[in-house]
Subunit: 246 residues, 2 copies
């Protein structure tokens, strides 16, 4: 099956003269980004940075640490629970029920959520915070390339997953630190099925399927019911069907 880079330790891909920092949650998307970065830059040239901010389930971070260790990638874990001080939402608050978009939040203290068309799993400013801290860390290490698995085609419609935000953030980070950042989002215009196809091309379809964690409720192997599990399963089925049809 494997015709790709991951089995050749001395292979380095087209970006072999650069280094990359991957924003890594241990989910399907960022794991696929990490695997692609290893193929493109070479394992020794890649680092991962993970953010812990009071998610409902520590399993996500545990999975991320297991994968980084398994792939031999240096991982830096940053506690960003500061974000809880300025905002609140269902991903961090056990008392809230996760709701899809267009359903208003039940939390009366959150005026912004009540008026929002976004699902109540949205953390205002989250991806900006992750990119900013990743940028500070990257600069301290002399790294310019930052890779993030955000995706416009994701069902969620979060504003900070859109390409226009990422490009504006890239310029803002440059101006903030007077340093040439190169923020890359290889999944931006891929469907979930195409992201599964990418993992397969890299020789890691089974690996991603078995080891990544995407469930909002933190169920090992996925609950199969939450928006995140549904999206993941639907994409996988679509990809496997299209593969069989070839």
């Amino acid at each position: 099956m494997c015709q790709t880079a991951h089995s050749h330790a001395d292979f380095v891909g087209p970006q072999r003269n650069r280094r990359a920092l991957v924003i890594f949650s241990g989910g399907q998307d960022s794991t696929t980004c990490l695997l692609q970065a290893i193929a493109d830059y070479g394992q020794q040239q890649v680092e991962a940075i993970s953010f812990y901010y009071g998610q409902r389930h520590a399993i996500e971070l545990e999975k991320a640490q297991w994968i980084a260790n398994d792939l031999g990638i240096k991982q830096t874990v940053i506690d960003t629970s500061v974000i809880k001080q300025v905002t609140n939402n269902a991903l961090m608050d056990e008392s809230q029920v996760i709701q899809p978009a267009h359903v208003t939040s039940s939390n009366p203290s959150s005026a912004a959520n009540q008026a929002s068309q976004y699902p109540n799993t949205f953390v205002d400013g989250r991806n900006a915070l992750f990119l900013l801290l990743a940028g500070s860390y990257a600069k301290s290490q002399g790294i310019h390339d930052i890779i993030m698995g955000v995706c416009e085609t994701d069902f969620s419609g979060y504003p900070d997953c859109r390409d226009r935000f990422i490009k504006s953030m890239n310029v803002t980070m440059d101006l903030s630190m007077d340093y040439a950042f190169n923020v890359k989002t290889p999944l931006m215009y891929l469907t979930k099925a195409e992201t599964w196809a990418l993992a397969d091309q890299l020789g890691y379809l089974e690996y991603v399927k078995q080891h990544t964690h995407t469930c909002y409720y933190g169920v090992e192997g996925g609950c199969g019911q939450c928006p995140s599990c549904l999206l993941r399963d639907k994409g996988l089925n679509e990809y496997l069907q299209s593969k069989e049809a070839k």
Copy 2:
């Protein structure tokens, strides 16, 4: 002396239909911004947000709390020590000596500082972090206007004090949270002498002189020796001389 708004509790200025969040350190610049905001928006329409990130001296935060309380302004204090996890520098590290610009850092672990033309008091990404967290908080409170006392004419040359950074950050925050922020920097093109003149116009020259804290070394009343004290004293002397000459 006083012909200005601060003695008239029911006065509200030209921004009376809006609310403002002032990023407030308790120093000369942000205190002047807070006083101007009270004059423009009315005391009831203004909030302050202060960031604690492991500064050398807690006196700065104590002064900020005293001033906010004295002026009757709601203050939110946010612990942003997360920034210590991704970068390090003289403002947070007792082992480093504060050095002016163009002198390289003595900290061998900081490749970025060693190669930088900035003074080693620069925290990469600091103002972006402050604005981002202020933005998340402001949105949660339904506030659109954020006021920050950064200044291009400051001696330091920090990139994240420049107008181009602030405007780019404003757009990025909008795109990040899908919310219309209005980041205002009333001191951007003022000299220190002109900032003292503004405090005087607001009827608060003596107040700012007595109650604000700017010294890098945390000396009560100022050490008179550090770059911050020198800049403050020089500006005050310039303003007082120009005032006497009139």
